[in-house]
Symmetry: C2
């Protein structure tokens, strides 16, 4: 079965059976030109998937007969990115690209210089989750990027597991990623990385001072000034690369 | 002077003097809230820059008194990316992010599975060049990304200088970037890299067969299916990283 024929199903029946899929999946099925009788793979974006056959497909609704779901293995290399809230038009690109790359989680954080607002109950957050599911379906990643609503930077940063490597990408830093990791663990042992990327206005020196005692090492990202979406995607790619989860 | 106060000037007078800037620079000056008397740095996106003072600034026009221009050093690490023509909405993100990263050149290439059209005289190409200049102004990169209109993949690929390392990112490849480079040169000696990234539909096996005798080594980019914009940006970042031009 082509990897592209993956559809989101929020709940997979434990023993399989007939189920209706949400509107977003019906629309995705239209884009893929799927028809009654086609085989698809359903995924719940939370670690389960099931093979299924399309029973009915219309513009805004579809149904399938699903087999019993199986668990998708947990990611063995996890990148969690803490990101200053970006402007709305950049959100979609960031979420899509990070999902395609296989990043584990994106936590929006509130910082001194964060300008865009993003409330916990913002429709923007729901939209981000939908984009992550769509990108998950299309990229063949078994798990969608987890998206967590905004909280204070220091609060979220303090939640990194004890054995996670921690870095903060900062324009004033000169240390390389390799130097930062060399002092923490061999590449083979890098399973869990937490990384901070600031908002458009950058992180303040006071914020860096808060992160240092929490174990976050400062790392530079070259001499150019990267916009927040570029920085988020490039940081994700370099971290996954160092964990041998890319290439 | 803040790095952000950079404005595009297509021609810098050899001995300095008064000059008018194009509309795009006047608009950029408005965004930066620049006023008469402010000091700025003018750049021609082709290797020269000059300090200047604003004499007059209005909605669609502005003039400056420029000092004599100086040459910006050539890039010592050059990445040239050959990219299957992407869909229009992705062009802007690709050009902007690659400029911010400091990629040397983007050559659009025509491939078997290229769907979007892009003529040599397309206004899309002019728009790409403008986006590259704007991103150049904002990112502090001294040189804008060079953008070359579409030609056949094999024609462009054959133009790589003799001492350039050559890779093609391909979904069916399993070789890592490090393995590909290890057989070519030590990282310190990587000054010039030519890389191919396919269009949305991917490169065909026949195209890979054309690239192999030209010295392009196949490299994978992880297990996820990356969209063309993600692949272009991630490939650029990883190549610059290996050349120690990032981080």
């Amino acid at each position: 079965m082509a990897e592209g024929r993956r559809l989101f199903a929020p709940e997979l029946p434990r023993d399989g059976g007939v189920l209706r899929l949400p509107v977003e999946s019906a629309r995705h099925a239209q884009v893929l030109r799927l028809r009654v009788g086609d085989r698809v793979r359903l995924f719940d974006a939370a670690g389960s998937e099931a093979d299924a056959e399309i029973l009915d497909v219309a513009r805004d609704a579809m149904s399938c007969r699903a087999e019993a779901p199986r668990s998708v293995p947990e990611r063995t290399r996890r990148v969690t990115l803490l990101l200053g809230v970006p402007k709305a038009p950049k959100l979609e690109t960031i979420v899509r690209m990070m999902t395609e790359l296989g990043v584990h989680a994106l936590c929006f954080v509130l910082t001194e210089r964060s300008v865009p607002k993003l409330a916990h109950d913002s429709p923007k957050l729901e939209r981000c989750k939908r984009i992550a599911r769509e990108a998950c379906a299309q990229s063949g990643q078994a798990r969608a990027l987890e998206i967590h609503g905004p909280e204070e930077l220091a609060l979220v940063a303090a939640r990194a597991p004890a054995d996670a490597a921690r870095v903060v990408f900062w324009e004033n830093a000169t240390q390389t990623l390799d130097a930062a990791f060399a002092s923490v663990a061999a590449a083979e042992d890098l399973h869990d990385v937490w990384a901070v990327v600031g908002p458009e206005g950058g992180l303040s020196a006071a914020e860096i001072d808060q992160l240092t005692p929490l174990g976050y090492q400062q790392v530079g990202l070259g001499e150019g000034i990267l916009r927040v979406d570029t920085a988020a995607v490039v940081a994700s790619a370099l971290l996954l690369d160092r964990m041998h989860a890319l290439g």
